[in-house]
Amino acid sequence: MSEKDANPSANETLIGGDLFGRWEQLRGREGTVVGLTAIIVAIFPWLFARAPFVSGFLQGYQSLATLILIWGIFAIGFDLLLGYTGLLSFGHAAFWGGAAYAAGIVAKNVSGDPIVMVLSGTLFAVLLAWGLGFLSLRRGGIYFSILTLAFAQMMYFMAASPLAFLTNGENGLTGVDVGNLFGVIHLEADIPSIGGMLLGTWLYAFVGLFFVGAVAVAYRILNSPYGMVFRAIRENEQRAEFVGLNVWRYKLMAFIISGAFAGLAGSLFTIHGAYVPLQSLFWTESGDIVVMTVLGGAGSMFGPVLGVGLYLYIENIVSTIQVLTIPFTDIVLIQDFGYYWHLLLGIVFVAVVWVVPDGLWGIIGRVRTFVSDRMGGDR
């Protein structure tokens, strides 16, 4: 089952039939990761929006579930750059918003086919990432962050004014007509029978497929020799250079790949909302993805997705809570809670950066190690 595994002690536990050991073996494998992701994606909207009791407690809804997956794709791509290559871009709104506009403009002028929209948006983001990466990567460290920030702001102001004839300026790109998938499937419609109960709309299924695909691709990259180079660059760029690797080329490629993920997410965002706000290019959007990724845990595969879910959940649902009470009692903790949610999020963000740089996912990991130490004895 795991012949190529070089760790003899792990093999022993497998032969010994220890359930925990078997799980440890399985969970690192690509098939398991992608399969589990697919299962979770499939039951997520049901749990979130339609399950008895649970979803009544969560107060989730279908559209938010779709949005979480879209931002999740964005976050996975962003983490390839920040968490694995160690480059902090403050300009990913350029790819997200740029692709959203590209997809929207193509839909308005050429074809509203969702696949065409996704392809054109992603292609635009890739080309843009190539150009901006080429410029920004000329400087490292903080200069890279500032440059990406600057170029993204340039895109924002371009869309706001000189290119307003294309982008509709301040009002955002309205009236995007998203066509039917393969000419027959209306994305907003519910899937019939059991699929509809679990997944809800065709749009969710469409986005979900891309999400599972994104996880598979990111996992493939990160666990290949190519992805190992990214990590090497994060750990010590100079040493990677001396080993003989062309660091510049790898960094540019990491930037382009993460730009492609952001572009895919941005195009899906246009399909989801049929509208592109000018705000989607503003640098606060880049800030949001940074906050989400770091909160969840940069440098892990699913931490950023957890961060996305948490952020969007707080932004859309928790922020509507007016009075925060201790659960099941009437004792008021915070009055006007919704008004303060952004402040609380900022404080939590600072605390996370300060105390647990590997984010909430890191905390979960530590708890897991603690529990398995207790349960597994000498492991």
């Binding site: 160690g86 400087r139 102001f157 402040l343």
Partner: protein, 322 residues
Amino acid sequence: MSILSDIFVILLNGLQQGAIYVLLAVGLSIILGTLKFVNFAHGALYLIGTYAGLFVALNVPLSNGKLYEWGLSSIGLDWGFFAALLLVPLLVFVVGLLMERFVARPFYDRPDTDQILVTFGLAIVVQELFRILFGSNSLPFDQPERILSFGSFAGIPVSGPVALPIVGNFPQWRLWVIGITAVLVALVYLLVEYTDFGLVVRAGTRDAEMVRLLGIKITRPYIVVFGIGAALAGVAGVVGGPLNVVNPTIGTNILVPAFLTVVIGGVGSIAGAVVGGIVFGLTTAALVSLAPAWSQVGLYAIAAIVLLTRPQGLLGDEEVAP
């Protein structure tokens, strides 16, 4: 004649706009150059300066926000704007000292990205605090009418137009902004270039470890540098407040041009920050009157061109800047 006066108006407006960038960039630059600390919360210091200036300087009738609810609808000092120019930098200086001690110092040994993240988070927190306290609407910050007025002494008028040769009538306050900036930047320059304090700071920029080995406590110069940088941001807030809108997002919005100024001028170089600020100010002013649609884009285009041709910045030193 009219073309000539147009050119001069653009020049003066550019210098005024650039002055705000210069004040912010000099502060950022000395913090970045000396302490190697990336302060994404510099805009938050500008924000604090603006609001503090607003409340010290003028009899501002507030119509919304928490302060109004608390009954503080107007705080005015008879000294007017001069009081703000003295008190606000002191306040922000103290804020800077606290920031160095409690935020920056624990992060000196951590990666750049962690410094950016924590100060970015701090900027969000400050911005949200101000939004909760004062509401998110833009507040009126009128240009000061006179400074140094006290009791029966009428003071020096600083508002309204002033007749200049060639240009004609020009808003007087803008000239004051240029003047105040020039004096302050000159003072900082003299401090860094011609005093023992400056010598230690400059040595620390080159090699902090060596300075420590020579038996000099570099912690105190560091904290003072941070305070000075913060105070300059505070001054920028006070003098720039009346020229722009005042709302909680100004801090984050000014951060990008301020950082670009530093990078374009060359990190750690005060002269570079001045040159960068003036270049940006003039560009913005020229584009506003010639091609308004492109006025914001021009800034970033210039930044891109400079970085392609001179990655270390206009007056930057290749050895110091990584």
